[in-house]
């Protein structure tokens, strides 16, 4: 889909035109052929057509013909004029024409939003296709009257004869004729047990109802025709206006009736061969599209603007017109007077073809049509209808369209599968979870997975994975997807696209990951499902090859400095989620638990706890010696021995990953990636097991602390939060604590100050972030006099006091007063504090206020943040996934890009998007940090020397 971006509006337009031209050629050829063979073909293929009553039947076909003609030929106007019945006809024509205004609007639309417009056009095409097919169908099934027409007289007569007749019909008793036509058409249609079977009127009402749905926003009231129409209008705002002219230019040779019939035969044959049908359809679509759109639109306009009331009255008439095929008469029925009123001047302009969009139930019925291309086209049209239209999506569900589509996923023909999947993708998109549930209920997930396994076509794979991505945002579906799809997604997509090889051939270069759409979709899906709790994490961790492949992909991203894209973001998020609680959930984790009996954080006083944590590095050491001891301990720290290279979930917590995450933190400009990478370090450095200890030390050795501290300046709230919590976890390592206290305090305090008085408007940090920062300060100040001094030097006390005094947030106030309390507990500092004019009350009173809750709170909060706020992550995940989804809910494939853009700007996730853009701005500042951060960057690093291994010399 990314590729689509490239298409300029112009090129798309050009291609449409080209298609149109092709269509023209095709139609011409068709026509010729028809002349030659039409009779035979029809006979052969549709014996049933033969009999029927001449009068009524004929009239119908005639009308049909007429329609076609008008549509296709600009010349038709002329012919019309010549017609005897001219007055009425003319008016009608006018009605159609009415749209002159519309065209303009179309144009404007095009200019303003190219993408959107284009898309619409495409859809239109599809629609047209559907219509055509249908027509064909009808003819065969057709009512009695049809046969005669087929006979061929129509062919010969057609320029004048049919027209006349048609007109006559209209003029005479339009209602009766029409209704009949409708009925017959309905009959032909109803292959399936559709509600449509009901008499025409019934169906009418239904049909009307549908429209409103589409229009959703405009008219909530289904009954209201007026509203409905407008809605439709919106749906196809663009209309193939530009195309239309071409269509009009089409030669008169087009003969309606023949066309229809012929199409029948045609479509069958052509489709079966997989021939040019599509193309022609497209062409047609473009052309026709306008018509139907226009007619409807016109109506809508009229209704809305002038005579809503009138319209309503007219309604009843419509049903008759509703015949699936083109409805010549719409306009006529509507009421000539109206038309006339509208734009007399326009009358002369040109004829509008009148096609009618099939109603939703009809489209769904076509999904069961025996002819495969009809199914495919119906599904494609459905995809178009459902694009971002919640009302239609709901209707499709209510009409039980989802099981039909899911069933088509196993259809023998690839085209049908593809279209059905495309429709499902749009249907599965959105916050409304009912469709997702419905897809699950009819076995959609296994069907999609089957299709993914079977499909070699990249487009289908994109559609399937996109659909799964959409589905994966719905909580109850996550485990379903894991159950059915995890293996397939991993082995069919993640592993091959990641470049990871199970048994690397040492002679071949390692492959880089390919950031394909399929990979992006799949990783997004797994990202969503990875947030579904401990069981989901376990399943993903134990899925063979998944972690290895994700790591490989990320490493390759870092290697290529390509770390800003969505796939990387998804991968890091999965890794982050899988790293959560790894010290509790991984098989055999208890073997690595620290021997030190570290009681649950809440159970012991903070002092003692600190000491225990420090002891992680090898027992309790006298404080004075700690540093040197620590380093030595680190060097000699016994890592759990392993006989073979780590693989699978073990890779999650190997110290080697630290470098990867730090690289991402340094390189990436994607805030979500930054947050996830910091979150991964946060997760890994939590807990009391050997690996966490080692991770904490490794972050220091890899010079990760300056990287993290620098990110405290990030403009993105969630990044600051994740980094703050990570720093807090890291400071469980005594040496880290000292370093962080010395060099990160200024940044932390600055964030506190920002909480109070934002430097920029809207720079106020969220409550969670402020609390996280305060907790981190508390952590590093606890049990460290030096760090408490740093806090004083960083002028943190005034900031904290101000926060406790003025803050609206109870949680922030509590956290801040907790820090103050700790500071005051250092008797050594009281003198300095008092010199600055602070009194005990400042520290104690606030503390006292919150004391009660705090006793309970502080341990809790400690736990929470140490073991990285899972819930937080989950929430974030959810949000993320939803904001991810928008990208996936694409309309017709090629044109998705535009949509996406539009969507973003529109979407509720606006903030996220804009922030993504901003990074570009802010990033430079990050990469070339102001003096502040750069200073720590030098010093925050552990004393070197031990970082560098002794020179190695190996014999070979």
């Amino acid at each position: 889909m990314e590729d689509c971006n490239v298409h300029s509006a112009a090129s798309i337009l050009a291609s449409v035109k080209e298609q149109e031209a092709r269509f023209e050629r095709l139609t011409r050829a068709l026509e010729e052929e028809r002349r030659h063979v039409a009779l035979q073909l029809e006979r052969a293929q549709q014996p049933g057509v033969g009999g029927g009553s001449m009068g009524s039947g004929q009239s119908l076909p005639m009308a049909w013909q007429q329609l076609v003609m008008q549509e296709q030929s600009p010349g038709s106007q002329a012919s019309l004029v010549t017609m005897p019945e001219a007055p009425e006809v003319l008016e009608e024509t006018v009605t159609v024409e009415e749209d002159p205004g519309t065209p303009t609007s179309h144009v404007s639309i095009v200019t303003s939003e190219d993408g959107t417009t284009r898309r619409t056009e495409t859809k239109v095409t599809k629609t047209v296709k559907t219509v055509t097919t249908r027509t064909v169908r009808q003819v065969p099934v057709g009512p009695d009257g049809l046969p005669l027409l087929d006979g061929g007289p129509p062919l010969g007569s057609f320029p004048d004869g049919p027209l006349d007749r048609h007109f006559l019909l209209r003029g005479g008793g339009p209602a009766a004729t029409l209704s009949r036509a409708y009925l017959s058409s309905g009959g032909s249609f109803t292959d399936g047990p559709e509600p449509r079977d009901a008499p025409s009127y019934g169906s009418l009402s239904r049909g009307l109802g549908m429209r409103p749905l589409r229009g959703g926003p405009l008219g909530p009231d289904p009954g209201n025709g007026c509203f409905t129409l407008p809605g439709r209008r919106e749906a196809f705002p663009v209309g193939p206006e530009p195309v239309t002219p071409a269509g009009r230019s089409q030669p008169e040779r087009f003969q309606a009736e023949s066309y229809g019939l012929e199409d029948d035969t045609r479509s069958l044959a052509a489709d079966d061969e997989g021939g040019p049908e599509l193309e022609s359809d497209y062409g047609t679509a473009t052309r026709k599209r306008p018509d139907c759109g226009r007619v409807l639109r016109t109506r809508a306009y009229e209704d809305v603007a002038d005579d809503g009331g009138e319209l309503l009255e007219d309604r009843p008439l419509y049903p008759a017109v509703t015949a699936p095929l083109a409805q010549p008469e719409r306009g006529s029925l509507g009421s000539l007077d109206r038309v006339v009123r509208r734009s007399p001047s326009v009358n002369s302009a040109r004829k509008e073809p009148r096609w009618r969009d099939p109603e939703l139930p009809e489209v769904l019925a076509m999904l069961r049509h025996p002819v495969d291309p009809v199914k495919a086209n119906a599904a494609a049209y459905l995809q178009h209808l459902c694009f971002e239209n919640e009302g239609i999506k709901r209707r499709v569900r209510q009409l039980r369209g989802l099981p039909l589509l899911v069933a088509l996923l196993d259809h023998p023909r690839a085209e049908v599968r593809r279209r059905a999947c495309g429709a499902l993708r749009n249907l599965s998109y959105g916050r409304d979870t009912d469709n997702k549930a419905a897809i699950r209920d009819c076995g959609g997930v296994p069907a999609l997975v089957r299709l993914l396994r079977a499909a070699r076509d990249n487009e289908v794979r994109e559609l399937v994975t996109g659909t799964l991505w959409n589905l994966s945002s719905y909580e109850p579906l996550k485990m379903v997807i894991i159950d059915h799809g995890l293996q397939t997604l991993t082995h069919e997509v993640i592993v091959p696209h990641s470049g990871w090889e199970r048994e690397p051939n040492e002679d071949s270069k390692p492959r880089d990951a390919e950031w394909t759409t399929v990979f992006k979709n799949t990783s997004g899906c797994l990202r969503n499902v990875s947030s579904d709790g401990a069981e989901a994490r376990r399943r993903l961790r134990e899925c063979e090859g998944l972690v290895d492949a994700l790591l490989h992909a990320l490493q390759s991203a870092v290697g290529r400095k390509d770390t800003d894209n969505k796939s990387v973001e998804n991968c890091v998020c999965i890794m982050r989620n899988l790293s959560y609680h790894v010290h509790k959930e991984v098989p055999g984790a208890d073997r690595y638990q620290e021997a030190e009996p570290v009681p649950p954080a809440g159970a012991v006083g903070s002092q003692r706890r600190r000491r225990d944590d420090a002891g992680c590095f090898g027992g309790k050491k006298a404080k004075g010696k700690k540093d040197s001891e620590m380093d030595r301990n680190f060097d000699t720290l016994d890592l759990p021995k392993r006989t073979e290279a780590a693989k699978g979930f073990e890779l999650l917590y190997q110290p080697e990953v630290v470098r990867l995450y730090l690289s991402l933190l340094t390189e990436s400009r994607n805030f979500n990636t930054l947050e996830a990478a910091a979150g991964a370090l946060q997760n890994l450095s939590a807990g009391n097991w050997t690996w966490a200890t080692y991770i904490r030390a490794t972050v220091r050795k890899e010079r990760g602390l300056p990287v993290l501290v620098e990110l405290l300046q990030s403009e993105t709230d969630k990044v600051v939060r994740a980094v703050a919590i990570a720093l807090r976890n890291l400071s469980l390592d005594r040496r880290n604590k000292d370093l962080i206290g010395s060099y990160a305090m200024a940044e932390l305090v600055r964030n506190v100050r920002n909480a109070q008085a934002p430097a920029r408007p809207r720079a106020r940090l969220e409550e969670d972030t402020v609390v996280a920062v305060l907790n981190t300060i508390h952590e590093i100040v606890s049990d460290s006099l030096d760090n408490a001094r740093s806090l004083l030097q960083a002028r943190g006390v005034p900031a904290l006091v101000a926060l406790t005094a003025a803050c609206q947030s109870v949680r922030e106030a509590k956290a801040a007063s907790h820090v103050l309390q700790t500071v005051w507990s250092y008797k050594e500092l009281r003198g300095a504090l008092q010199r600055d004019g602070w009194t005990k009350a400042r520290f104690q009173s606030t503390a006292a206020n919150t004391k009660g809750p705090k006793g309970a709170l502080s341990p809790g909060s400690f736990d929470d943040s140490t073991l990285p706020l899972v819930d937080k992550n989950l929430d974030g995940e959810k949000l993320g996934s939803q904001d991810v989804i928008p990208m996936e809910a694409l309309g017709p494939d090629g044109y998705s890009t535009v949509d996406r853009r539009e969507r973003k700007s529109r979407g509720s996730e606006l903030a996220g998007e804009s922030s993504e853009k901003e990074p570009l701005k802010s990033d430079p500042s990050r990469k070339v940090p102001p003096p502040g951060p750069s200073r720590p960057a030098v010093r925050l690093v552990d004393a070197v020397g031990d970082t560098k291994p002794q020179p190695v010399d190996s014999w070979v």
Binding site: D507, V952, S954, W955, V956
Partner: protein, 124 residues
């Protein structure tokens, strides 16, 4: 021989083809290497530029395959069988050289004397 990371390097190189010698189960080349991007380049006694993290030949066993092939102490290995050796870790280089499946390794090496010789010939 100093270069800027990311910039193409121009160096005068010599091809050295070493046939490994089988010793028991092992195939040996008869030299040792130092350096690599994970090593401290300042401790490399052979490099002119003390930030050069390339792979250098540090020792050569007498009468071994490497000596026979003409490899010299202090040579900087640029490629092994076509694989770049200027941006690899020490271990990666070692593995690349000691593949059991390969009886022959073809090295591209550069050394100061080579550079000088070329420069002189160009001057004269």
């Amino acid at each position: 021989m100093s270069y800027i990371p990311g910039q193409p390097v121009t160096a005068v190189v010599q091809r050295v083809e070493i046939h490994k010698l089988r010793q028991g189960e092992n195939l040996i080349l008869g030299f040792s290497i130092g350096g690599g991007i994970d090593q401290d380049p300042s401790q490399n006694p052979f490099s002119e530029d003390k930030t050069d993290k390339g792979i250098y030949v540090t020792r050569i066993s007498e009468g071994g395959p490497a000596e026979i092939a003409g490899l010299q102490i202090g040579d900087k290995i640029m490629q092994v069988n076509g694989w770049d050796m200027t941006m690899v870790t020490h271990d990666q280089a070692r593995k690349r050289l000691t593949k059991r499946s390969e009886e022959v390794v073809r090295l591209l090496v550069t050394r100061q004397s080579l550079q000088k010789a070329v420069q002189q010939s160009m001057l004269s």
